[in-house]
Amino acid sequence: MKPEPASVPGAGAPPSAPSVRRTRPPIIVWIAFVIVGMVIVCALLGEWIAPYPPNEQHLMVGDAPPSARFLAGTDVLGRDVLSRTIVGARTALVGPIVIAAGAFAIATVLGLLSGYLGGGVDSVVMRWVDFMFALPGPLIAIVVVGVTGGGFWTAVLVMLILFTAPDTRIVRSAVLEQRPRPYVEAARTLGVSPLRIMFLHILPNILPILAAYVFLDFAFGLVSLAGLSFLGLGVPPGTPDWGRMIFENRSILFTNPVGLLLPAFAIVITAGSMNVIGDWIYERISAR
């Protein structure tokens, strides 16, 4: 997750290209990297950075606006909003990472098989994708998590499966673009096995595109999980979680608005930063 301006995958333009653009990432991308870095630090070291334990109740204070002692004020149970926001970075990162990585792992396999082999495999995979597209995603998530009473990991699993369908389409179209290239045909002519062609020839060439989409998936996963938490689904009560904090602190909107605005802000800038990074990677690839 460190910014590596000089070694972006896939920046290898042919040497004869007249205008090779090797520009530095724009300032907004740097800001996005810094924000994501801060969120990661909070997720890893939350308890040590936070001024108070996230669940410690300062009952004498109640729901108080920001003060020198509680920089972001306290919630209705007298818990420090700042500390809860910092520690809440953990669920905010873990869920979306599992969703984005898992969905893409499955989508990569399905997309490669479907795009490269075509025929019956392609039909089956694509009909399944069509079926998934026909489902109202958020509603399914609410119903499944609500009915099973499942909690955080059920929510993550449902999201992961829902995300697999659009990701499969992306992988498949990237594979279809590579498949007629001479280097693939040369490997076919040589008699290289289909699995080797898929995973050793085509996959490395589409990986940069997938990397860009993984970031976009992360952002969308974060917002979706926060939405579920806001509805009271997902993380159990008491867990410091951004979506849940918005839900819990609705009632103190007029006594301590920061209690609601700070986690909301955290969601927006984290998801936004991931989008910016994903877009930037995508642009770098398309500029080739």
């Binding site: 520009t23 290239r181 002519t189 040589l190 008699g191 050793l200």
Partner: protein
């Protein structure tokens, strides 16, 4: 300095072009002087990276972002370099027009062809619309187009040649005094290419218009230009009249270009290639730009950058040793024309194709009959050419031979195995097939997997033939393959992006050789390469054949290339073989009218490329 032109239209002095990515200045053109007289056709000839296209764009001040130029560009006494952008707009199109290589991207796909011309015509009032329409029709007729049939059509409905004609009419609509044409015929089929060049020449003469033709092909420049500027790595190396240059080039590079372009009228014993590949202008800033590749280079050539010096009436050369080596250059040219001895006939049929047909159904009920009952035969160790234009089905046939396509009907038999349907073959039969026939693809830039090193690619190919190969033995085999195609073994660690086009094509050949095939199907293997590199690769093909007796099927549209490497020839036209026989017989005494037209359309050979009725190449492609 070139003041012998009666009335100078354009005079460029000290033109320098450079790019500045991240503040590092990269020279593209290092000082260029150029004159174009009224009614004169001037050619700028150079390979890729010579700076020829950017020179054209600098003159009309349409350089891409990040590329800058300096120097004076006097057009009828006005320095174009000093004009404001608004003033420049009044020059572009009206007085100087530019025409590009790709006839498709040049035309707006949403405008009908007639509208392209109407838009360019001088503004007329509403009541004069019919005047404008008849003017538009006249303009289209000038470029040989029937206005009623073409004006209401969109660019995508036309063939490449027709589009290029429309583009020419649009470029001429404001009656410019100077037309700059950047590779106007390169993207077209050979027969269409000849028509466009002839049209361009005719119009240029009739209008007494100045013309700058930018091309990589000396033969194209000879066929329509009065004078030629030879540009190499951003430096002018030679300036001369077309005829003088063709008769006796006075710079080793020009000679090298001439020699590496294979002649169409005979098969040479050996082509004389230019070693190496084009240098970057900044690497040769303090010396003769061509010195690193010149067989006559001595210390004096690397001590300073030689300037263009007059060596005869109307002739300039930047070679300081030109007087010392003129005799040797003439002798080399004489020697290079030695014809090759006829190759011994072979006997064993290796590949037999009988009545193969293939129809593509791209959807919406359309049928494209790519192959219609084609029969060919290739013997052991024989070199066979398959010639035809785009759409003739030649690539489809090649792909059928290596199993990338399946024929709908007919039989392909390779080394005794029926290879018509790859899926029905047993595993062992399939592996015999692969070891017998391999393929070389046209585009050197996508033929190698950009993510893997050269060594990885070759090792994989070697191991598909012999899975037991590993470790040091594998490394040795990779090195041996690289050396066989004339590359240093150290190239194994390189990625394709670090190689030039010619080097990539060598690696692709090495990859195909890894399974020791008996037949290489080469689909336009040199058409994407620079002229000077083409000859190297053609010589490599010939050397490999002499060493290992491999057979070739050369699929190409270039008759001169085909003559250098093949013994027998098949001419494919619209999916059918229309003529076959020994290469020299087919090329010297063509029987079928289509073959005759193909030969006549080579620049500098046919001259009169009379269109044959009923054989229009302008059909939809």
């Amino acid at each position: 300095m070139m003041g012998d032109v009666a009335s100078t239209l354009l005079s460029v002095r000290g033109l320098r072009i450079w790019a500045e990515p991240e503040g590092r200045r990269r020279t593209i053109v290092a000082g260029l002087d150029l004159d174009v007289g009224r009614g004169e056709a001037v050619g700028i000839v150079g390979e890729s990276g010579s700076g020829k296209s950017l020179t054209a764009r600098a003159i009309i001040r349409l350089l891409p972002d990040g590329v800058r130029s300096e120097g004076s560009i006097l057009f009828e006494g006005t320095d174009l370099a000093s004009l404001s952008e608004a003033e420049m707009r009044l020059v572009r199109g009206r007085r100087v027009s530019l025409m590009f290589q790709d006839p498709f991207t040049m035309l707006n796909p949403l405008l009908r062809c007639g509208e392209h011309i109407l838009e360019m015509l001088p503004a007329t009032g509403r009541e004069e619309r019919h005047v404008a329409r008849s003017e538009m029709a006249r303009r289209l007729r000038e470029v040989g187009i029937d206005p009623d049939a073409v004006a209401p059509r969109y660019p995508f409905e036309l063939s490449g040649g027709m589009r290029q004609r429309v583009a020419l009419a649009a470029a001429l609509a404001r009656d410019p005094e100077l037309l700059i044409a950047d590779e106007p015929s390169t993207a077209l089929d050979v027969t269409t290419q000849a028509e466009i060049l002839e049209l361009l020449r005719g119009i240029q003469r009739a209008r007494r218009m100045g013309l700058i033709l930018i091309t990589h092909d000396l033969r194209v420049a000879f066929s329509i230009c009065d004078r030629i500027y030879v540009l190499y790595a951003g430096n002018l190396l030679e300036v001369a009249g077309s005829h003088e240059l063709e008769a006796a080039p006075l710079h080793p590079y020009t000679l090298g270009l001439l020699l590496s372009e294979p002649p169409v009228d005979r098969k040479l014993e050996r082509l004389v290639p230019i070693p190496g590949s084009v240098s970057a202008p900044d690497d040769v800033a303090d010396r003769c730009a061509f010195a690193p590749r010149c067989r006559w280079a001595t210390d004096v050539c690397t001590t300073g950058r030689p300037l263009l010096a007059q060596v005869g009436p109307g002739r300039w050369s930047s070679c300081i040793r030109v007087h010392d080596i003129a005799g040797e250059m003439a002798a080399l040219r004489e020697r290079s024309l030695a014809p090759a001895p006829p190759s011994p006939p072979s006997h064993q049929p290796l590949l037999v194709v009988e009545g193969v047909s293939k129809t593509f159904i791209p959807g919406r009920g359309r049928h494209v009959e790519a192959l219609r009952g084609v029969s060919i035969q290739i013997d052991d160790g024989e070199s066979v050419g398959l010639v035809g234009e785009s759409g003739s089905g030649k690539t489809t046939l090649g792909r059928c031979l290596v199993g990338l396509e399946e024929p709908d009907a007919g039989r392909i038999s390779v080394a005794g195995i029926d290879a018509s349907h790859a899926v029905r073959l047993s595993r062992s039969e399939r592996s015999v097939l692969r070891r017998t026939v391999q393929m070389i693809f046209q585009d050197p830039y996508s033929t190698l997997n950009p993510r893997h090193s050269v060594g990885w690619t070759l090792a994989e190919a070697l191991r598909t033939a012999d899975a037991g190969l590993r470790g040091a033995a594998l490394q040795r085999a990779v090195s041996a393959l690289l050396e066989r195609v004339g590359l240093p073994a150290a190239y194994a660690t390189r990625r394709p992006a670090a190689l030039s086009g010619g080097e990539r094509q060598r690696v692709a050949i090495a990859r195909a050789l890894a399974v020791r095939p008996k037949l290489l199907v080469c689909d336009e293997p040199v058409s994407a390469l620079d002229v000077s590199v083409q000859a190297q690769i053609l010589n490599l093909f010939r050397r490999l054949q002499a060493e290992s007796g491999i057979a070739y099927l050369f699929i190409t549209h270039d008759l001169a290339v085909v003559r250098q490497v093949v013994d027998r020839l098949y001419v494919l036209y619209r999916g059918e073989v229309v003529e076959e026989g020994p290469a020299d017989v087919v090329l010297d005494q063509p029987k079928h009218p289509y073959t005759r037209r193909l030969i006549a359309s080579i620049p500098g050979v046919g001259g009169a490329s009379a269109a044959i009725p009923g054989l229009g190449s302008e059909g939809s492609t």
